[in-house]
């Protein structure tokens, strides 16, 4: 027996040597490594292009006033300083804005997910005359740009009324502009930022769940709503995570609706648009004579803008570091692709 295995081993070794002697082996070898190099260069290059603006902002944000005019400083500042961060922190009223944004984004995220899960399940299971037509409505909400319905929406929230009820009690319709109610209402009714897309995702997902699972639950005596909460929802967690992530991020970044509904910059995305102005008024106001001259300096103001942009995306990046794995995996499992 021993002899035999030794013979076999020798022959495999010889085979390997024979293979290595042939040109085809080396050809394959070189091809594989060439491909790996090309792939590495491509992925590394594009990754660099993506990360470059963030690196640039980081480098600018840590610079001090002296580094700004030092021509030897390009990327790494001589004296690292946190002054820019401190200044923006105060000028933007950062903790307050951050809290507002976090609360608004979380509330919108939860409401949107609940409404869209329900609607998605409904659309996946309901079949009656006209249900296809209703789902076409979902697609329609994705296709129509928000600019088309912007003016009536604005006026509607400016003179908000529930079938004349508010006017009956208060004497006049409520003005919801500059409050968070427009966001809450549109999220709860499934008409927020890109909500049609979420309904679509859930519907595709629930279509993929076999009906037999529900039937088994009915046989065991569960009602329609129990089946939904105890059997269907736990299955839908991956796609719910996807939708929650998207809705949080898109609400955070949304500048269209925030600029429309809020007059004062209370949340991050509208803060960003006006941060230059906020910093300028902060520096020149309040008797700070020594800082007032900085406002005229375009380099300084640009440094401030960079810092403020960095600070407003910083929470998102930190969040992303934690959920990034989940983000990629959940999209793959969410049934987005049908």
């Amino acid at each position: 027996m021993k002899k035999e295995t030794a013979a076999v081993q020798r022959s495999t070794k010889e085979k390997l040597q024979q293979r290595m002697a042939s040109a085809a082996y080396w050809f394959e070898f070189v091809k594989k490594w060439m491909w790996m190099t090309v792939r590495f260069v491509l992925i590394f290059g594009i990754s660099f292009v993506i990360v470059y603006p963030i690196l640039l902002k980081l480098s600018i944000a840590f610079k001090s006033m002296d580094d700004l005019y030092d021509s030897t400083v390009i990327w790494v500042p001589h004296t690292m300083t946190l002054d820019n961060f401190k200044l923006v922190f105060k000028a933007m009223n950062y903790p307050h804005v951050l809290l507002n944004t976090l609360l608004l984004s979380s509330a919108v995220m939860l409401l949107q997910t609940v409404t869209c899960v329900l609607a998605g399940y409904g659309f996946a299971r309901v079949k009656f005359r006209g249900s296809g037509f209703l789902f076409a409505g979902v697609i329609f909400t994705i296709l129509v740009p928000a600019q088309t319905i912007m003016v009536p929406l604005y006026l509607q929230f400016k003179n908000f009324d529930l079938f004349g009820l508010i006017e009956l009690i208060e004497g006049e319709p409520a003005n919801l502009i500059n409050t968070y109610w427009p966001f809450i209402i549109s999220a709860a009714l499934g008409m927020g930022v890109k909500t049609g897309l979420y309904v679509y995702i859930f519907r595709q997902f629930f279509k993929g769940i076999p009906r037999e699972i529900e039937e088994a639950a009915y046989v065991d005596g569960a009602g329609y709503f129990t089946t939904f909460t105890r059997v269907i929802l736990p299955n839908a967690v991956p796609s719910m995570v996807t939708v929650m992530l998207f809705s949080f991020v898109w609400q955070w970044n949304d500048s269209f609706f925030t600029n429309m509904y809020l007059n004062e910059p209370k949340v991050m995305s509208s803060m960003m648009a006006s941060s230059g102005y906020a910093i300028a008024t902060f520096l020149s106001g309040g008797g700070q004579a020594e800082t007032a001259s900085y406002v005229q300096d375009p380099f300084f103001m640009s440094m401030m803008m960079n810092t403020s942009v960095l600070m407003s995306i910083l929470p998102l990046i930190i969040l992303y570091l934690f959920v990034q794995r989940h983000f990629v995996e959940s999209v793959e499992r969410s049934g987005l692709v049908g």
Binding site: R39, F40, L42, I43, I46, S47, V49, I50, V51, P53, L56, S59, I60, I74, T115, C116, L118, A119, Y121, G122, V126, K127, F128, L134, V138, L143, P145, T148, I149, M150, V151, P152, L155, Q156, N159, S186, A188, L189, V199, Y218, Y224, V249, N253, D254, S255, M260, S269, M272, S302, M305, N306, V309, I313, L316, Q324, F327, V328, V331, E332, V337
Partner: protein, 299 residues
């Protein structure tokens, strides 16, 4: 009492209606009603007064103003359409290519994927608009170019010369070199598309590739005969998504918003928005009807 005559399944179908109800209320009050009134506004002159607003019907004059006498509407609208025609194929090809790359096994794949999806999080019109006019960043960039000897413009020129000398047509060369210099713009718009393609690639059954390999196909053939047809429905999805996404965050939409909230010409803004929507619908209809003929559905 009516329910008693229905079977369990029929009953459950009606229960499903309750699930749609919140969405339907929103659809009705926050979509259909505003859509109709926006249509009405586009034909009238809207004045905001202390107690609400007043409407006078003025016929087509808002449309006429936008098309014939507005100083930039027509130009900006054509520019957006041309931009989309140029960018969309690039975004689709780019995202499909990188989705295929990121789907392969290699070291550091998790990190590479994490970086590639950063644009999904950071892609926001406001960041881009701040970046474009930024002084400090352009200073650092120009310093980089002179000291590092990067000379990015030169490189582009060399590529162009090389391509022209090898007999590629001029317009195509311009298209390609333009794509290279707009690479950041393209990347930042293709995060979601890569995500969708990647999810689609994961759902292709490996047994297909196995069978193809046994039959002796190369990786190139496997891509065009298996990956491409299997993923073609998602190409259509991504095409629609890309077109909508780029329309939402472009110059025209900014103009529409400014007309409404800076010059308070609500009627004109509504007319602009409606024509804009008509153009989007036309573009979408043309592309989907062209592409959907080629799409392969497995079942």
């Amino acid at each position: 009492m009516r329910f008693r005559k229905l079977s369990l399944e029929q009953k459950n179908r009606y229960y499903g209606l309750y699930f749609i109800l919140p969405w339907f209320a929103g659809f009705l009050f926050l979509f259909i009603v505003p859509l109709l009134s926006s249509f009405r506004y586009s034909f009238s002159n809207l004045q905001v007064t202390n107690d609400g607003f007043s409407l006078d019907f003025i016929g087509l004059s808002n449309y006429r103003e936008a098309l014939l006498s507005h100083e930039s509407y027509v130009r900006i609208l054509t520019e957006s359409v041309v931009d989309i025609a140029v960018n969309t194929p690039l975004i689709i090809i780019f995202s499909l290519f990188f989705a295929v790359l990121l789907n392969q096994r290699f070291r550091g794949r998790v990190l590479a994927r994490a970086i590639f999806f950063l644009p999904v999080i950071l892609a926001s019109g406001i960041i881009a608009s701040i970046e474009n006019g930024d002084l400090m960043q352009s200073v650092v960039r120009s310093a980089n170019d002179t000291t590092g000897g990067g000379l990015s413009i030169m490189k582009n020129l060399e590529l162009a010369v090389l391509l022209i000398e090898s007999g590629v047509s001029m317009t195509f060369v311009e298209y390609l070199t333009g794509a290279v210099s707009r690479i950041y713009e393209i990347i930042s718009q293709s995060g979601v598309q890569i995500l969708i393609f990647l999810a689609g690639l994961q759902s292709i059954s490996p047994s297909l590739y196995e069978a193809a390999k046994i039959e002796g196909s190369t990786g190139y053939e496997a891509f065009w005969k298996i990956t491409f047809p299997m993923i073609s429905p998602l190409i259509l999805t991504n095409l629609v998504y890309t077109i909508i996404d780029s329309f939402i965050s472009d110059e025209t939409s900014r103009l529409v918003v400014d007309t409404a909230f800076k010059s308070y010409d609500f009627g004109l803004s509504a007319a602009m928005a409606w024509m804009y929507f008509a153009v989007i619908a036309l573009v979408l209809w043309i592309t989907t009807s062209l592409v959907s003929r080629k799409v392969f559905y497995q079942d």
